[in-house]
């Protein structure tokens, strides 16, 4: 079996006194697409943010590339950030600058590439998400779906080793959503990316998932490959794969 690229052990996450993740252990394997599933408010975003040290875990361990995230010093953490792209649930584009500038930020932060190369990389990425003509616009001038795609372009600006997407296809029409899935698969193959994707869309899961993590009520209900998930006897998992909804 491959060695995990991200390894979470007994992670507990709290907001104030409220326990959101109650001792979660998951492994993410390289060059796979791992889909995180679970009802709204079950803690998917919280899990991702804890893994990426956007929140400090209450207890437990998170290892990325074999290193404990909470114990990294600033330099190590910074280096890791250059290898991870994150697509936030609400896009989180910086509103005061253009889409083009939004995408150039990670490139300027983490590389010493020349301005021409950076500009070309940005144009490539914009084209990849079908926003070739919108680079000079500001986030407020984009539709919801366009914002998502622009945010994706920013997330993959650095051709990251790991791409984390929080509900990439929420709010997109089925066609765009399908082409986004194609793009995600292509990126995985071409750039050998590892992906962690939160999504509820059954169709999308069938298209892209290699592995499934099913969270319920702050606990892991199921982990395994897509095939195993489809045959799972766990009640909630079975229901989800039958009707595409959480009960």
């Amino acid at each position: 079996m491959k060695k995990p690229i991200i390894s979470v052990k007994n992670l507990v996450a709290k907001y104030g006194d409220k326990i959101v993740l109650d001792g979660i252990s998951v492994d993410i394997y390289p060059q796979e697409i791992t889909v995180i599933l679970g009802g709204s408010g079950c803690g998917k975003t919280t899990l991702i943010k804890n893994i990426l040290r956007l929140f400090e875990p209450y207890s437990g361990s998170v290892k990325i590339f074999g290193k404990e995230v909470t114990e990294m010093d600033e330099a190590e953490y910074y280096e890791i950030l250059g290898k991870i792209g994150m697509l936030f649930q609400n896009g989180a584009l910086l509103n005061s600058i253009s889409i083009f500038d939004n995408i150039s930020i990670p490139l300027e932060q983490h590389t010493n590439l020349s301005a021409q190369i950076i500009e070309k990389m940005i144009r490539v990425k914009l084209n990849l998400v079908n926003l070739g003509k919108s680079g000079s616009l500001f986030p407020a001038e984009l539709s919801g779906g366009m914002k998502k795609r622009a945010a994706l372009a920013r997330a993959i600006a650095l051709d990251p080793v790991i791409l984390v997407c929080d509900e990439p296809s929420a709010g997109l029409d089925p066609l765009t959503s399908a082409s986004l899935d194609d793009l995600i698969k292509k990126l995985k193959e071409l750039l050998k990316m590892t992906m962690v994707i939160v999504t509820h869309e059954l169709a999308s899961i069938h298209r892209i998932a290699d592995r499934i993590i099913f969270i319920d009520d702050g606990k892991i209900l199921f982990t395994g490959t897509l095939k195993e998930a489809k045959m799972s006897k766990v009640n909630e998992v079975e229901t989800f794969f039958r009707v595409g909804k959480f009960d």
Partner: protein, 357 residues
């Protein structure tokens, strides 16, 4: 990288880590004739690599070199990342001075029109709202009055008191030279009632309540709450603005009165300690000099100040652009603009009531 028989052979990985060095290395071949770029020894290409290839291709354009020996994987990367031929991105747009002036005037005309519509809307719904509380949250007027009035009372009192002290102290030195000590009462009464009380209150309200009106509405606008209100058939002006309008209308005369009285008290301290006047003499004089007109004009104009603050705060709030940053921007603008208009209104008021030829 090596050049042989007009063929440039690239090797290894073309990635964001290698292309900067490769570009430098390439600069020695720039002037050479190159008709082929051999990709056989290239093992991996990312988007920086594609950008690099495009860059060297551009500088060799006159020989239109061809890429040869691409393996499947790299060919795939090419197809995915291809299409550099998309529209050049132009961010900075320069416009001529005439366009700039024209735009400015056009925008000004439009925004004045919108502001006047909003003003009319606010006055209409505030009037209707006196009799009909439909579409307002229960208790919102009381809640707003607490926010706008009660919470501001402390700072307004303190500043009025200090201002009273300052004015009295500054003039006391002069008055004493002429033995005109008692006139400090005239000065305090008239300046506080007609000018300082209303003005100070208005400026503090602009800073406290005007900004909060603007930022509250702007945030609601940005987070699409205003749209949600509209979807639920609630008029955002009735829901958000009218309670504030009513609250500020109730509070402003009380705040101005408090400010005026406390300011006059500040003067009293100076009069008693520094000018050897008795408190009774001071107050008798204050009452003697004040005429009804001054009191009415002072209170009257403060209503206009208050309404200007609400209307301008709402105007900027509803017209917010962008996200969180836009909220900050309109908040600042609303404060500056309301203070500006408060002062303009004050000037107009003085011309109407006190200008005699």
């Amino acid at each position: 990288m090596e050049l042989k028989d007009k063929t440039l052979t690239l090797e290894g990985e073309l990635t964001k880590f290698t292309v900067t060095a490769l570009l430098q290395e390439f600069s020695q071949y720039k002037s050479k004739v190159i008709s082929k770029i051999d990709m056989k020894k290239v093992t991996f290409v990312d988007s920086a690599g594609i950008a690099f290839l495009d860059e060297i291709y551009l500088s060799l354009e006159r020989y239109s070199p061809v890429l040869i020996n691409m393996n499947n994987e790299i060919d795939n990367a090419f197809k995915t990342f291809s299409s550099l031929d998309i529209e050049k991105i132009t961010i900075k747009k320069t416009i001529s001075i005439f366009e700039f002036i024209g735009n400015g005037f056009y925008n000004w005309k439009n925004s004045s029109k919108n502001a006047i519509y909003l003003l009319a809307d606010i006055f209409y719904w505030s009037f209707v709202g006196i009799f009909n509380k439909k579409g307002q949250r229960k208790g919102s007027i009381i809640q707003q009055s607490l926010l706008i009035g009660v919470d501001a009372l402390g700072i307004i009192s303190l500043l009025s008191f200090i201002l009273g002290l300052i004015i009295a102290l500054q003039s006391a030195a002069q008055l004493r030279q002429f033995g005109a000590n008692i006139f400090v009462a005239d000065l305090m009464a008239i300046s506080m009632v007609t000018e300082m009380g209303p003005m100070l209150t208005a400026i503090i309200l602009a800073g406290r309540s005007g900004s909060s009106i603007a930022s509250e509405i702007a945030t609601m606008q940005v987070t699409e709450e205003i749209d949600a209100l509209k979807m639920m058939a609630i008029n955002p002006i009735r829901y958000v603005v009218v309670p504030k309008f009513h609250a500020i209308t109730i509070c402003i005369p009380l705040l101005v009165t408090a400010s005026t009285v406390i300011g006059i008290f500040g003067g009293l301290i100076v009069a008693v300690t520094y000018l050897d006047l008795s408190a009774i003499a001071y107050f008798n004089r204050v009452i003697e000099v004040l005429i009804l007109k001054d009191v009415l004009v002072g209170l009257g104009k403060s209503y206009f100040f208050a309404w200007v603050i609400v209307v301008i705060g709402s105007y900027y709030g509803f017209n917010v652009k962008g996200g969180a940053e836009g909220v900050g921007k309109v908040t600042t603008q609303s404060v500056v603009t309301s203070i500006f208009w408060v002062i303009i209104l004050d000037a107009i008021n003085s011309l109407i009531f006190y200008f005699e030829v």
